[in-house]
């Protein structure tokens, strides 16, 4: 009913002209009919007409009454309010400009952050009917993890809930060295099961998807290329389909090319069949996705899979842990879970900024309302209802807010560009394309309307309290003190909000400086790194690989400017790679630790400190006794700080690793990030690795070279490439980088967070300062007469200064008190973003409160000083 009324009103809005026309037509018809009747009764036409009009009554009044009832009045009032509002805003261009800019800042920043959120969380994944896509994982203690190939096969065979259930893995020889294109290059690949493309609902644009036979063990070697790789290395040649390229030394037929807009996970270059199978040496963490059949709910699918998981446990009791089961969640959540909380925090922060902007505009509005008090009182005295005035002021507020929102959209577009350039890779899922769409526009509109109502209400509320008589007579009416209280409250709110922002930003600054102070355990300066994928038949055995490493390192070591060169299978501050270690005294109890295969000069090249014993060298080869070096975290964990030297263990299970003796202990090196403790780690001399150990390690990791230089590290890259090409042209080195870059990248998100929240806080502080300044200036202007009297009676400039400043600082301190309480409650939410500083860190709180006090003192001082310059003679005459 209410909706229908609204509909009619909006309808009326669009056909304002026609309402009057319709009424007129009806009235004309009525009069004509009556006149005809009268003529039939014997009157002359003129008489008949007059009589009809007499009986009809006052046409004008009836026309207007009818118009009113049919919603026309509402519409007309609205337009009148708008026109009046526009006129009154035009009359004070300074106010309008400042208000619109302030609001544009608030809505613009908020819109930009929302559009990031939208891209990650609200926009569906870039696949058709993405709402039916789910992630299926093994579940324990609430978390979902990749389930591995054997479980996937079992689930696929038994479940009926899915249109397609598919498995994928970036490990296990998915990528590697590709030859046959423009030049040999390293490519990133994903192994996918046959149904993968059907599950995503995206198929190759050229050629076809994999067949069941190709996905079966022993199937033909085939690959599907990404559009990017196809264009980059094969010049977009459509004739490539069916042709053969060389992938890791083996001939591989290209059967398809994906469409250009196809986007998956980390953006691989190619796809190869997974050939999932039961048994050892398969990826235990391969991920499973499914497309639900239409009408099947996520819960139904999960219930079915949980039953299947129990059957799996009955069949393979050793392969399922205690308390392990299967879980299903929307595929989008798989990407957004980690980042959702972070985004909410950032959105919260930017909304605080928007609120500060609102408070400022409300304050401006109040100051203006004070100036317009006489105008409003005049209109009320002339009979305008209170409701009309309120509606008028709210309309004005909305007009300002919409103008601010529109300007904010432009600002947002700019901020989005800035953010896209600055957001460190890995902070957001790759598919997230930040931009504007209808959701963003709707959000901005909603934000504008809400803010318009927020800051429009303050002056409207004040207007209702206008004492008509007092206001018309003088400008020091009773309303003044209530207005003062409201303005004061706004200042308190601004100070409180900006303190919360400052504290939040302060904590992130502390986090970042703490991280800068963390020693990573190695010296990142002057180290060049790059990667070589040693796949292919030429390096199948450990001996062949070791020979390649030896030759390559020798060649690189001879280059001028090289101090030391070495290899490892994982760089510090990178992803982890762990394997079990088995202690001879307790063979059943395997412990999982970080495992590195390194060449002798690794510790020297990275400048990792040797704490005890010795590092391995070239003499520790296959013929020599098996040795291993451990880090201090390992010694602490497994030997409880007692001497680790001469202890024994072997690495991995079923990889033929002999029992090794610990010959040295090195310092800890950060692995998962500077903010995480260094994990226990063991270093095995690569030349002592068994064939099986090397195969396993190579399945999940690559070969990273680290070269310590005495010159600018990147300047050596061309020479290094040359040396390696001379050794084996089919092994292209890739991803040249310096360790300094890698270290910087590892704290890029923290740096970004600091800048982001820091900018919000700085803007918030600026707005709050402007707000305080505005209120104090207004107060001084209002109290000119009082100050004049005080000075005439002998008050000193200092006394006046104190008088005015005290008022402002009282408000500031109230705001700080509230802000501290709010921060205590809110900063707790960002604990996960902090390092080395408590969410309630007293020093950060105190420093920011002090900063805010200083800024607000400055903002009070300027108007206060103006007050001391009041000339009593002029002030007393001042009206």
């Amino acid at each position: 009913m209410w909706l229908k009324g609204l509909y009619r009103r909006v309808g009326a809005l669009l056909r304002s002209e026609s309402i009057h026309e319709e009424i007129d037509e009806e009235v004309r018809f009525h009069l004509d009919m009556r006149a005809e009747e009268n003529v039939r009764a014997g009157m002359t036409p003129a008489q008949a007409r007059r009589e009809a009009e007499r009986r009809f009554g006052n046409r004008t009044r009836i026309r207007e009454q009818g118009y009113d009832v049919r919603g026309g009045r509402w519409l007309e009032a609205f337009w009148r309010d708008c026109r009046y509002g526009a006129r009154s805003l035009r009359k004070s261009p300074g106010f309008t400009l400042v208000a619109v800019l302030t609001l544009a800042l608030g809505t613009g920043a908020t819109t930009a952050i929302f559009s990031v959120m939208n891209a990650v969380m609200f926009r569906p994944l870039p696949y058709p009917e993405a709402e039916r896509l789910v992630y299926v994982g093994q579940q324990y203690r609430g978390g979902l993890a990749g389930s591995g190939e054997p479980k996937f096969l079992f689930w696929r065979e038994q479940s009926r809930s899915f249109e397609a259930l598919a498995c994928y893995s970036g490990f296990g020889g998915a990528g590697g060295n590709l030859a046959g294109g423009a030049e040999a290059e390293q490519v990133r690949g994903v192994r996918v099961s046959e149904d993968f493309f059907r599950a995503l609902g995206v198929y190759p644009a050229l050629g076809r998807a994999f067949t069941r036979e190709e996905d079966a063990p022993g199937g033909a070697r085939v690959a599907i290329l990404s559009d990017g790789l196809w264009r980059r290395s094969f010049g977009g040649d459509e004739g490539l389909i069916g042709k053969t390229v060389t992938l890791n030394g083996a001939p591989t037929t290209v059967v398809g090319v994906m469409p250009p807009q196809f986007n998956f996970s980390s953006g691989p270059d190619l796809f190869v069949p997974m050939r999932a199978r039961q048994g050892a040496n398969v990826d235990p963490n391969a991920e499973v996705i499914g497309r639900l059949k239409p009408g099947v709910s996520l819960e139904q699918a999960e219930a079915e899979l949980k039953g299947i998981a129990e059957r799996y446990r009955a069949a393979f009791p050793r392969h399922m842990a205690e308390g392990e089961t299967v879980g299903v969640k929307p595929y989008q959540d798989f990407f957004t879970e980690g980042v959702a909380k972070y985004l909410w925090i950032v959105l919260g922060a930017v909304i605080f900024l928007l609120l500060i902007a609102c408070a400022n505009v409300a304050n401006l509005q109040l100051a203006r309302a004070a100036a317009r008090r006489r105008e409003i009182a005049m209109r009320m005295a002339l009979g305008a209802a209170g409701g009309r005035i309120v509606r008028q002021l709210l309309t004005e507020g909305l007009m300002l807010a919409l103008a601010g929102g529109a300007a904010g959209l432009f600002l947002a577009a700019w901020i989005i560009q800035l953010l896209t350039a600055l957001i460190p890779s890995g902070l957001l899922p790759r598919f997230a394309r930040v931009g504007m769409d209808w959701r963003v526009l709707a959000f901005t509109l909603a934000a504008a309307v809400v803010t318009g109502l927020l800051f429009g209400t303050a002056p409207a509320w004040q207007a209702l309290k206008v004492d008509v008589n007092a206001s018309l007579k003088e400008n020091t009416g009773k309303g003044a003190s209530a207005r003062g209280r409201l303005r004061g409250a706004l200042v308190v709110a601004e100070v409180a909000l900006s303190l919360v922002l400052l504290v939040g930003a302060g904590l992130l600054v502390r986090t970042f400086t703490n991280l800068l102070g963390v020693t990573p355990g190695f010296d990142p300066r002057n180290v060049l790194t790059f990667q070589v994928d040693l796949n292919g038949e030429r390096y199948d055995t450990a001996a062949e690989a070791a020979a390649f490493y030896r030759d390559a390192l020798e060649r690189i070591g001879r280059l001028p400017g090289v101090e030391a060169a070495a290899i490892t299978n994982k760089l510090p501050l990178d992803w982890q790679f762990n394997m079990p270690v088995v202690f001879p005294d307790n063979p059943e109890q395997a412990q999982t630790v970080q495992v590195r295969l390194a060449s002798p000069d690794y510790f020297r090249a990275m400048r990792i400190d040797l704490r005890r014993g010795r590092a391995f060298d070239g003499a520790d080869d296959r013929a020599a006794p098996p040795v291993v070096v451990v880090n201090e975290a390992f010694a602490r964990r497994f030997y409880e700080g007692k001497d680790a030297l001469a202890r024994q263990f072997s690495v991995g299970r079923g990889v033929d690793d002999p029992v090794r003796q610990v010959i040295g202990v090195v310092g800890d090196v950060k692995q998962q990030g500077l903010d995480r403790p260094a994990p226990p780690m063991v270093f095995v001399p690569v030349q002592q690795a068994s064939d099986k150990l090397l195969t396993t390690v190579r399945t999940f990791t690559s070969t990273h070279f680290v070269v310590r230089t005495t010159v600018e590290p990147t300047s050596l890259a061309p020479a290094v490439k040359q040396q390696l090409a001379a050794l084996d042209a089919a092994l292209p080195p890739s991803r040249f980088s310096t360790m300094e870059e890698i270290a910087a990248r590892s704290i890029a998100s923290q740096r970004f967070n600091m800048w982001l929240l820091g900018s919000f806080a700085a803007l918030g502080l600026l707005l709050a300062a402007v707000g305080i300044y505005g209120v104090m200036s207004y107060t001084v202007a209002q109290r000119t007469r009082e100050i004049g009297i005080r000075m005439a009676l002998g008050a000193q400039a200092g006394t006046v200064l104190k008088l005015v400043t005290r008022q402002g600082m009282t408000l500031t301190f109230m705001g700080i008190a509230i802000g501290v309480a709010a921060s205590l409650a809110l900063t707790r939410l960002m604990e996960g973003l902090l390092y080395g500083v408590a969410a309630t860190d007293p020093a950060t709180f105190a420093a920011n409160a002090l900063l805010l006090t200083a800024v607000s003192l400055a903002a009070c001082y300027l108007p206060a000083r103006r007050a001391t310059r009041v000339n009593p003679l002029i002030a007393l005459r001042y009206d």
Partner: protein
């Protein structure tokens, strides 16, 4: 001989319109004529005020309207009772009967 005309009691116009429309769809002039006939020309109704009243009834959802052709083939707006309007007519008739009864009793008391 002219009949003596009585002013319309405040608030009864809506009821009369509903009653008139109870006979079926008609245009505004038709409503005026019907009230005139039913009242035997004893009521003084300002005909123009019918229209705001009709719009009000429409706004309340008791009456609906649409443009159509009149007997003499002119465009006219035709009004009819909605289901809710019909119910409302019943309510008003009942209220009116009670009012007349009560007022009558008071006025008859010496």
């Amino acid at each position: 001989m002219a009949k003596q005309k009585t002013d319309l009691l405040q608030g009864t116009l809506d009821m009369l319109i509903l009653k008139a429309l109870g006979g079926g769809e008609m245009h505004g002039y038709g409503v005026a004529r019907r009230i005139e006939l039913l009242a035997d020309e004893m009521l003084k109704v300002e005909e123009g005020s019918l229209y705001p009243a009709l719009y009000r009834l429409e706004e309340r959802g008791w009456v609906s309207s649409e443009w159509g052709k009149s007997d003499n083939n002119r465009r006219a707006r035709f009004y009819s009772l909605t289901a809710r309007g019909r119910r409302q007519l019943g309510v008003e008739e009942e209220n009116w009967r009670r009012l007349v009864l009560a007022v009558g009793k008071v006025m008859q008391a010496a």
